[in-house]
């Protein structure tokens, strides 16, 4: 097996005095799709946000493609907090799709997508536009290229947000409850796009979700979070149909009950 | 010649402070007038009569869109042409009151409009009279949220009182100017005036921010 693309080592996170993550070890392999499930407040979102550098790590290390994300090694081999440049360099491997999309409201759909390739990667506008249109076509929204986000449905917004993240060609793509803010009838179109990306195989995925059926279909592995720890981690069939811990059993039971009343 | 002379500063301090009394009285009286006039404009603008409402609206618009200094000149220099000669203090208070009443009327309006329309319907459903609806239901809800804004205008008006020196009222700035003219030293008198304004208005605005937080917690 090759080196893992993401490696958490004893990662701990506090918000003031509140501990939300407790010495977590975790790996994501090249191209692997991992779903994170668990009750709200269990730490799974914070876990992912640390990888996107949206929260600061309290203790432990995260490596992406063999390089420390939050730290730098000096000549003596000691770890010190990463400089902004280092953080940006390592961060460029990671992308994220948010629950509430966070599209830029002052830019058209196409401008949303080509913004980062141009300003961050320094691509030519012509090239970025060509690439942006290809990706828009992939998510089925080429006809909306010149529309502003306010005129899109929730499902369309999320597909644009996915395209915006994809165009940066991240090695790891985080999805933070990508369908939770959507009306039920719009969930399908977004899941389909995510599944397409998963089927292409190259991108590793970290998927926080409440859609168990979808998790089973897309993920190679499911990790169950509870109280700042990963309680179970394994193949989808194992986790969903053969839970070992009582916490996971309870969670799944409660979940099934609320899903199908 | 020293840039700053402490002895001189302490010599003139009592005279400037004694003029502070004029500044504060003008602020308080002017603000009282602004509150009353402001409420009046708000009521008149909400009147069912189109003529009354548009005249009141016109006055407010005109006053808001012209400088207070020119309004003060108008009251002080033009009124006597029609036989109304006013003391500088009275003219000043009138000018301040009129000018700020138009701002306060806008504040009152926004306060009233921010009350949930459902409250009017409830009052109707409970068979309140129009008067009781206003005094018991609407105004008690409209006032507290805009109280900090009203307070802010009080402080703003306080800082605007030096303008009254332009119509010969001897408040603190004019006192400082007179002292400066007599001694050819402006540094100390003008600086003292600036510091006095800061010393009075800054704590007041802190107090107000405190009040604002308390109110926003409550609502």
């Amino acid at each position: 097996m090759t080196e893992p693309i993401v490696k958490y080592n004893k990662v701990t996170k506090y918000f003031d005095d509140l501990q939300v993550l407790d010495k977590i070890d975790f790996e994501i392999q090249q191209g692997e799709k991992v779903a994170l499930i668990g009750p709200s407040g269990s730490g799974k979102t914070t876990f992912a946000r640390l990888l996107m550098t949206l929260e600061e790590i309290t203790d432990g290390t995260i490596e992406v493609e063999g390089e420390y994300l939050w730290h730098e090694k000096n000549e003596k081999g000691e770890l010190s907090p990463a400089s902004t440049e280092h953080l940006r360099k390592v961060r460029s491997n990671v992308g994220m799709v948010f629950q509430h999309f966070h599209l830029f409201p002052h830019m058209t759909v196409l401008e949303n997508i080509i913004e980062a390739p141009i300003t961050v990667k320094g691509k030519k506008k012509k090239e970025a536009t060509k690439q942006g249109k290809e990706i828009l076509d992939k998510v089925g929204l080429l006809d909306k290229a010149d529309v502003y986000p306010a005129q899109l449905s929730g499902g369309q917004k999320q597909r644009v947000a996915i395209a915006r993240a994809l165009v940066m060609e991240p090695k790891v793509l985080i999805f933070d409850e990508p369908t939770s803010a959507l009306d039920p009838e719009l969930v399908g179109e977004v899941l389909e796009v995510i599944k397409d990306i998963a089927d292409q195989g190259e991108t590793s995925m970290l998927l926080i979700t409440h859609e168990m059926d979808f998790a089973k279909e897309v993920a190679d592995r499911i990790a169950f979070f509870d109280d700042g720890k990963i309680v179970e981690d394994g193949a989808p069939s194992e986790i969903l149909y053969n839970p070992k811990s009582t916490r996971l059993k309870e969670f799944l039971e409660r979940f099934m009950n609320t899903q199908t009343p | 010649m020293k840039i700053w002379n402490w002895n001189y500063a302490f010599d003139i301090l009592p005279e400037i402070i004694s003029a502070l009394w004029v500044t504060i009285t003008a602020t308080v009286v002017g603000f009282g007038l602004a509150l009353i006039l402001g409420l009046l404009w708000t009521i008149l603008i909400r009147s069912d009569s189109k003529i009354v409402s548009s005249i009141a609206g016109g006055i407010v618009t005109f006053v808001r869109n012209t400088p207070i200094l020119v309004q003060l000149f108008f009251i002080f220099y033009v009124f006597p042409e029609f036989g109304i000669s006013l003391e500088p203090f009275v003219a000043g208070v009138l000018g301040l009151g009129l000018h700020y009443s138009t701002y306060l009327s806008e504040v009152f309006r926004s306060g009233i409009e921010s009350v949930d329309p459902g409250q009017w319907e409830v009052a109707t459903a409970l068979n309140f009279t129009k008067r009781k609806t206003w005094t018991r239901i609407i105004l008690p809800q409209a006032f507290p949220p805009v109280l900090p804004v009203i307070g802010n205008y009080f402080i703003t008006m306080f800082k605007e009182t030096p303008l009254l020196s332009a119509i010969t009222l001897v408040e603190i700035l004019q006192t400082a100017k007179n002292i400066g003219a007599g001694t050819f030293r402006y540094t100390e008198p003008f600086t003292i005036v600036g510091v006095l304004f800061l010393v009075l208005s800054y704590p007041a605005s802190l107090l107000l921010r405190n009040l604002e937080n308390k109110i926003s917690e409550k609502y």
């Binding site: 966070h102 | 840039i3 200094l69 003008f190």
Partner: protein, 215 residues
């Protein structure tokens, strides 16, 4: 002099100075306001403190006092300014303090998610500010900035008190020579109104358009 002659006389002599003072001090206020607003959000405590002191001093003392101080006191320190420079400096610094607060709150009211999205796209802090935050914050600030421009325009009448020959100053001069007091000050009020009112209307329309656009 007829009423019309009074108006044209005041306009002819004072309009240029009033407009020039308004324009220059508005530019200065805008520059200071944006720099100050951004510095107020700085991570550096010292920078925040310095800007905080500036804002409180200029908001806490009176514009007229600041005007007098700059015009009459600065020469004692060897800095003698022309009336128009003193006027632009005083009004610019005074309104700059208020503008910096508008800028700060405008930036702060941009949705937190926008910052997260731009971090996720690996933008630098400057790119984030320039491409994502400021364009959105600016729209939010526009009505407030517009209202400040009107207040600033009206406050330029104060410069007459340091002998700058604006509309108000020319009216005073005309009053001293012709004694047509009623006509002169009525004309002066009307002139200010005719300039300020279209600005007020314009901002009301802009504000309505912006709130509609956000719906």
């Amino acid at each position: 002099m007829s009423f019309w002659e009074v108006i044209t006389s005041i306009l002819g002599q004072g309009l240029w100075i009033t407009l020039l003072t308004t324009f220059l001090s508005a530019i200065l206020a805008l520059v200071i306001g944006f720099a100050g607003g951004l510095m107020r959000l700085s991570r550096n405590k010292f920078v925040r403190f310095i800007v905080g002191v500036y804002v409180e001093v200029f908001r806490g003392t009176s514009l007229l006092v600041q005007l007098f101080w700059i015009y009459y006191v600065l020469p004692m320190f060897g800095i003698t300014l022309s009336a128009i420079t003193a006027a632009v400096l005083a009004i610019g610094l005074n309104y700059g303090a208020y503008t910096s607060e508008v800028v700060r709150s405008g930036i702060q009211s941009v949705d937190e998610g926008q910052i997260e999205a731009s971090i996720a796209l690996n933008m630098t802090k400057i790119q984030r500010m320039r491409r994502v935050i400021l364009p959105q914050a600016f729209i939010l600030m526009l009505p407030n900035l517009g209202n400040q421009l009107i207040e600033l325009f009206k406050s330029t009448s104060l410069v007459a008190l340091i002998t700058l020959t604006d509309l108000t100053y020319q009216a005073d001069v005309l009053n001293a020579t012709t004694l047509q007091t009623t006509q002169i000050y009525t004309a002066l009020l009307i002139i200010y109104f005719v300039i300020a009112w279209p600005m007020t209307k314009g901002i009301q329309i802009l504000e309505r358009k912006l709130t509609e656009g956000r719906m």
